[in-house]
């Protein structure tokens, strides 16, 4: 059961009604935990034990860390928690990748190894809940939060179904305080929940799935069969699709959580308005990028060491960020690509920081526009890596993006709806992002908001593809 399926539209109202009818904290949270585990079991029935095991280990480890005075013992329990989470993540996600590469390497060395005849099915959401568990025990270790006494509370924090399968990665410090008393959703939260849920669904079903069906899938399947301009449009459409797919899921998660009275963190902040690659990563998948910053980049030393060490840290963080998404060379390349871009941007920024003329130029509108265009091009080019069917196809797509006729050659036989759907994404960015708002719609009068949501819902029911594709980030 995923969002945007009929089963979910029966599951969600049922859980909401039962949850709000029940009285008492324990009853409510028990029902919510049971619903969350049912949700998980629906997606990954054979792996329910994985999330339960992680939950038990992290819960006990945190209690031990808090109860132990000696630093060595505290560190030992933290290691247990991190090793358990990363061990399961690596075992499920990277074993096949490691085997394939070891086999290839052995073949190159003249000691051929039999090809893999087995596969490991990935437990849904393992990349998300393991990171959530690690952040919790690390925060307890750092004495930033106290360990949770109630197993029910902790298990619900890890398994809360709206964000269970594909994030956002919620920190204990953000979520656990909200659980002190079962929050009763305010009228504002109910209305905002409707906003995020409907618009998230709209992004996913109406924009992302339509773009994929109409245009992106056929062009990416065989890019050589299309002219460069069409390929260019497809790259841009793919960038819009992955944004709408993932941010659509995040929005739906935020909306669902609001109906239970919980607030989840924002995961996207209009990433395609970014004027530098650093800015992009401050706007894209925020819960992951801040997690990597706080639990990897800073512990590695961040930018406090030598420049060489800083660039090493950046590269390491982004390579691991790429591998977190998927155990493939393409994702590794995506991480490397972004690490290099981040490092180059840092070199550039450091070189020009404090230079009067450079600051003056960079403050101009023309420069900001140029920076935005360059960043967008770099981001779109990077995204080719994670969709290309082969490296050859990737080169074909990238060439069309960096062709000399880039500015002139956008005239292509693109289905008329593709620019319309891309226009909707641009409209969202311009209408809200440029004004620094979460969403400009939230400030409009109730009748206007309600009319927009109803129009979106009508379009969803009538014009979205009959069968919704699964969310891209569910595979991570």
């Amino acid at each position: 059961m995923i969002f945007a399926t009929k089963a979910f539209f029966i599951f969600l109202p049922t859980v909401l009604v039962v949850y709000h009818l029940l009285r008492g904290r324990t009853h409510k949270y028990r029902v919510l935990l049971a619903a969350s585990w049912l949700f998980y079991a629906w997606l990954s029935p054979q792996y329910l034990w994985v999330i339960v095991l992680c939950t038990v280990i992290d819960y006990l480890a945190a209690l031990k860390i808090e109860a132990t005075a000696s630093d060595r013992a505290r560190k030992r329990w933290l290691t247990v928690s991190i090793a358990a989470n990363l061990g399961l993540l690596v075992a499920f996600k990277y074993t096949a990748f490691a085997y394939d590469n070891a086999a290839s390497l052995a073949g190159l060395c003249g000691a051929p190894v039999a090809g893999r005849t087995w596969d490991i099915l990935l437990p849904v959401g393992i990349s998300f809940h393991t990171f959530q568990g690690i952040s919790y025990t690390v925060d307890v270790y750092r004495r930033q939060i106290t360990a949770v006494r109630s197993f029910l509370d902790y298990a619900l924090f890890v398994s809360f179904f709206p964000q269970l399968a594909a994030g956002p990665i919620v920190r204990a410090v953000e979520f656990l305080p909200q659980m002190a008393t079962p929050p009763s959703p305010t009228a504002r939260q109910v209305a905002d929940g409707l906003h995020f849920f409907v618009l998230g669904l709209f992004k996913k079903l109406f924009i992302a799935d339509q773009l994929d069906l109409l245009f992106v899938a056929p062009v990416f399947a065989d890019p050589a069969a299309f002219d460069p301009a069409t390929r260019r449009w497809a790259c841009v459409a793919w960038a819009a699709q992955i944004y709408c797919d993932f941010s659509g899921y995040s929005d739906m998660a935020v909306g669902c959580a609001k109906w239970f009275g919980f607030d989840l963190p924002r995961n996207f902040n209009f990433p395609y308005l970014a004027a530098s690659i650093t800015d992009f990563w401050r706007r894209w998948h925020l819960s992951l990028s801040t997690w990597l910053r706080d639990y990897l980049y800073f512990p590695l030393g961040g930018s406090r060491g030598s420049p060489a060490r800083t660039y090493f840290n950046l590269m390491l963080v982004f390579v691991l960020c790429g591998l977190w998404h998927g155990a493939t060379w393409a994702w590794l390349a995506y991480g490397l690509y972004n690490g290099v871009l981040m490092s180059l941007h840092r070199v550039w920024d450091r070189a020009l920081a404090g230079v009067a003329w450079a600051d003056a130029v960079r403050a101009t509108r023309a420069w900001r526009l140029l920076a935005w265009a360059g960043t967008s091009l770099a981001v779109v080019a990077g995204l080719i890596l994670i969709r290309m069917p082969s490296w050859e196809a990737g080169v074909v797509l990238a060439r069309s993006l960096f062709g000399l006729d880039l500015l002139a050659g956008w005239s292509a036989t693109v289905p008329v709806w593709v620019p319309v759907l891309l226009g909707l994404v641009a409209l969202g960015h311009l209408f809200s992002g440029l004004r620094g708002k979460v969403c400009g719609l939230l400030d409009l009068p109730s009748p206007v908001r309600a009319a927009v949501y109803a129009a979106a819902a009508v379009l969803l029911v009538t014009l979205s593809p009959g069968v919704g594709k699964t969310f891209i980030y569910l595979a991570f």
């Binding site: 009228a187 109910v190 209305a191 409707l194 289905p415 008329v416 709806w417 109730s446 009748p447 908001r449 309600a450 009319a451 949501y453 109803a454 819902a457 009508v458 029911v461 009538t462 014009l463 009959g466």
Partner: protein
């Protein structure tokens, strides 16, 4: 101790002076009991959600006012055929699955002589993918005035108990039909209940029910405004509109574009796959057969003469499923013997059908349908004379 403010910040400002808002608040407090005031407060606080609900209900109502338009752009195939047949009194009705849909053209058969009387009006209720259980429900709905002759073009897959067609519970069945199914076919009670209830829930919203028709209408209108904007959808919409028109005004013969012009011999010559055919997998009979007996009972009760035609299929299909066809023909012989029904068994040779007259393993193309319909016409006249 802090006290809760009685009004939200800003409200007091807006209500200052003898304005309508203050009068309304006072009037509400005086005229309505506390329960209603609480309700009004709830509605006021949740006005975005309440308005959204009202807008959705309004949209659903508006969509419900144009059902004919949506149905014209995307007919519910089963319902459209049943309605098309029920629109007028029919002398001769054909029923069956997709072999009947594609293989019998009632227009070529209407007007035959049956015991000295002409069967002037004929209609084919061919339900693609249907089973005998569905055909019984279709006949009951499609023939409010019983026809003189009912011809069931039966084939092996109709009786396969491993098959269930959700379109039947969706479009043809009532609560009474559901009860009977559960009683007669308890092994599929859960399946039919699930699909029947799901269908009723789906039909509760006009927006959801007619979503495909709305999509086809929107594609047509968009293409009119911006030619070439959605060519595939427009082609689909055109096909569906043609089909809807044929079912509404014609004799029920509305062959699918691919089947009408397809050639099985060409598929074989090109060594292409004829496509998957799973309708005879896990073949077992007995449960759907009960509905064949119900159909016979219905015909007896209403004075309708029932004729069964064992629909011809390609030799390759029979060769692929010899056991299934053997079991099916045994059952057919039992029904013929026990109920005294006329059963016509046209062989491919007798009709003159070759692979060139089929579009795939089981469906006749337009040429095949013409040839087979001529044979049916002659055969029925023969039966009518007896």
């Amino acid at each position: 101790m802090q006290t809760r403010p009685t009004t939200r910040p800003g409200t007091a400002l807006r209500l200052r002076g003898p304005n309508v808002g203050r009068v309304a608040v006072v009037a509400t407090a005086v005229l309505f009991p506390a329960r209603w005031r609480r309700l009004a407060g709830f509605v006021s606080r949740n006005r975005t959600v309440v308005l959204f609900t009202l807008f959705m209900l309004g949209a659903d109502f508006v969509v419900g006012r144009f059902t004919a338009t949506w149905e014209r752009h995307s007919p519910d195939d089963y319902a459209a055929r049943v309605t098309g047949c029920a629109r007028a009194r029919r002398d001769l009705v054909f029923v069956g699955g997709s072999p009947v849909t594609e293989g019998i053209d009632p227009g070529r058969i209407a007007g035959i002589d049956w015991n000295g009387r002409s069967l002037a009006s004929a209609y084919a209720v061919g339900l693609s993918g249907g089973t005998t259980s569905d055909f019984y429900h279709a006949v009951v709905r499609a023939c409010p005035a019983p026809p003189r002759v009912l011809v069931y073009g039966i084939t092996a897959s109709d009786l396969n108990d491993s098959r269930h067609e959700p379109h039947g519970p969706y479009s043809l069945m009532t609560w009474g039909d559901l009860t009977r199914w559960v009683r007669l076919r308890p092994e599929s009670a859960e399946w039919v209940t699930r699909h029947f209830v799901r269908a009723r829930v789906g039909q509760a919203s006009n927006l959801y029910r007619y979503r495909h028709g709305i999509r086809m209408w929107a594609a047509t209108e968009a293409d009119r405004l911006v030619p070439g904007s959605c060519p595939e959808s427009v082609r689909e919409a055109d096909d569906l509109r043609d089909s809807a028109e044929a079912l509404e005004t014609g004799s029920g013969y509305a062959p699918a574009r691919g089947f009408a012009v397809g050639r099985y011999d060409a598929i074989k010559a090109a060594e292409l796959s004829p496509g998957p055919f799973t309708y005879l997998d896990k073949y077992r009979t007995g449960s759907h057969l009960k509905y064949l007996h119900l159909l016979i009972d219905w015909c007896d009760a209403n004075g309708v003469e029932l004729v069964l035609i064992d629909m011809p299929v390609t030799a390759d299909l029979e060769a692929k499923y010899p056991a299934a066809f053997a079991e099916y023909r045994t059952r057919l012989a039992e029904v013929e013997r026990d109920r005294g029904l006329p059963v016509l068994r046209p062989t491919r040779t007798a009709v003159g059908l070759t692979d060139a007259h089929f579009a795939d393993l089981i469906h006749m193309n337009r040429d095949g349908a013409a040839r087979f319909s001529a044979w049916v016409r002659a055969a029925l006249e023969g039966v009518g004379r007896e």
